[in-house]
């Protein structure tokens, strides 16, 4: 049986986790991850990495719990008005989900309702190197190269897994994917031990292993990767309103990431054709703000699709009777 050569384009959380997943579950293949950017310069490195599922209308998401805990913390998600769905679909997935008590809500005078639950935080700058190490340990290769066209990978590779996020605008000609710009501050405030998130998703405080992420913004269609000082001031002010002790935060660093947003995640096969050339592609991109929260679940699904492609390649073509 010939080794099936798989190229994974993109080395953010999707590319690396899919590559690792494939290495564990698809026998007889070689895996090469190709990207122009690697940790700590990917979008996944800017993300706080909260496992709080997004509320896409109609998108249930494939939210599979992570096997390895990176950081667990109690979350308070607070609402300025009572939501129509008081208990979200993911209540059973996180730990100890309940409504906040009146006493807890006293801490947030502008808010009338809240969820309290324990969830996980998975940090790109630590997680991605760990994934890379696992991949290399199982024989995977990692190459630095900017791919301008998926056909560049033909005929060196048999299957392409496209995890290029916003890059798919060009690589897959997908006009549905657009950036939602997020600016955050990473600060030192080690006394903060709880996640606090306003239900609008605009203001959040996420303590991490070595810093606290304060956010944020959701600027649709904005491609600007440079931080804006006015926005930073405004983020700090909103976060201090929720958690006044943050006025004592020090060593503030600004970061910007562009969420690869799309009406829905693109998770499907496509057989590219050009003349007689054929290139099976599994698209796995467009997770918007829910990338880290959903990644393992969608990586498993993408791996299943890759497996299907592998089966097709290994099935001998029916010989036409002459």
């Amino acid at each position: 049986m010939d080794t099936v050569r798989i190229a994974v384009v993109g080395a953010g959380v999707m590319g690396l986790s899919t590559a690792v997943c494939i290495s564990k579950m698809v026998p007889g293949c070689s895996i090469t991850v190709i990207s122009d950017k690697f940790t700590p310069e990917t979008t996944s490195d800017v993300a706080a990495g909260m496992l709080i599922p997004p509320t896409y209308p109609g998108e249930r998401g494939i939210f599979a719990p992570l096997k390895f805990f990176h950081l667990m913390c109690l979350s308070w998600q607070i609402f300025r008005s009572i939501p129509t769905e008081e208990v979200p679909y993911w209540a059973d997935v996180v730990l100890g989900f309940r409504k906040m008590t009146k006493d807890e809500l006293k801490k947030f005078p502008q808010h009338v309702f809240g969820h309290a639950f324990t969830t996980l935080k998975c940090e790109g700058p630590t997680y991605l190197p760990w994934l890379q190490k696992r991949l290399k340990g199982s024989g995977g290769l990692i190459l630095t190269r900017r791919i301008e066209d998926l056909w560049e990978l033909h005929p060196s590779f048999d299957i392409v897994v496209n995890c290029s996020g916003l890059g798919s605008r060009q690589l897959a000609g997908d006009s549905q994917i657009f950036p939602v710009r997020g600016q955050v501050l990473k600060v030192q405030a080690p006394w903060v031990k709880h996640f606090i998130r306003d239900s609008s998703g605009l203001t959040y405080i996420y303590p991490g292993v070595s810093n606290v992420t304060l956010g944020g913004t959701r600027q649709k269609g904005d491609w600007n990767l440079s931080p804006d000082a006015e926005i930073s001031k405004e983020i700090l002010s909103r976060c201090c309103a929720l958690e006044p002790s943050l006025r004592g935060a020090y060593d503030l660093r600004e970061k910007v990431g562009l969420r690869p947003s799309r009406p829905g995640v693109r998770l499907e096969k496509e057989l590219l054709a050009q003349g007689s050339r054929r290139l099976p592609v599994v698209h796995h991109y467009g997770h918007g703000s829910g990338g880290i929260a959903m990644h393992w679940g969608t990586a498993l699904e993408a791996t299943r699709l890759v497996n299907e492609c592998v089966q097709v390649l290994r099935t001998p073509a029916p010989k036409s009777k002459l």
């Binding site: 950081l71 913390c73 730990l95 807890e104 801490k107 309290a116 903060v192 031990k193 303590p207 002790s245």
Partner: protein, 347 residues
Amino acid sequence: MRVVVIGAGVIGLSTALCIHECYRSVLQSLNMMVYADRFTPLTTTDVAAGLWQPYLSEPSNPQEAHWNQQTFNYLLSLIGSPNAANMGLAPVSGYNLFREAVPDPYWKDIVLGFRKLTPKELDMFPDYSYGWFNTSLLLEGRKYLQWLTERLTERGVKFFLRKVESFEEVVREGADVIINCTGVWAGALQPDPLLQPGRGQIIKVDAPWLKHFVITHDPERGIYKSPYIIPGLQAITLGGIFQLGNWSETNNIPDHNTIWEGCCRLEPTLKDAKIIGEWSGFRPVRPQVRLEREQLRFGSSNTEVIHNYGHGGFGLTIHWGCAQEVAKLFGKILEERNLLRTPPSHL
């Protein structure tokens, strides 16, 4: 009025501040001094992890439950002030774990969001089958003592490094009221067979990914004899030692191993944690807190002593309620001596 506070742990300094805040304005003069042979970072308070949590069973003196609650509510009211972190104060949540079902603690409605653990949560702790989750408060000893010292200094209270050998020596220097906050060493000033050291040893580590406290319980062995992990403002405290009657202040290796093995079993990621330091301290154990007045006569002078010691492993948890109670007793002394200009407003 000359007031001498003996002891500069959390009890001494908070009581000093409480009295000064309540009575400075209503007294013609208030000359307050703190005498101690140990100041932060060398007090028992500095060794404590700083988590607000009373013992599980109801105290024999119901006043203690009330003082615990007063302290929690007082600290909670300070959350949200920009000074909270400077005081060493922050909310913290976590787990209490048991090997079998136990009744809810009497303080379940004092802490925030108290609930039982779900089966999925218990899966994280394979050695335990029952537990609680709640949000409480962290009051880190060292930071709080520094903050209290600053507040007292601002008010003109003076600090003296000295080992007081007897109440008499302090009386002869002219003290009107003595506040006795000598903790586990109170027996040196006045024998107290009810007071004993409850020796503890703790390891401080750098493990910033740990944001929850995890306290295990083994009712057969007793409180604080089972591993616990308590995050502080910067470092994590690991513990699980409680030895009644042991006066050894040096760290010992068997206890280190007990703590390390117990906590790593509970939280395997600790194997990557860097050890910052290790300390021993003596919880001032007593069946009840001694909080009462006593009149001492030396020659012709009549000096009031207010005792405030014996807070076991819950000093930080109960301190403010006790400080307020001492302030009340102090107020009575002032009334009896006709020293009040106007009634005090704080109580």
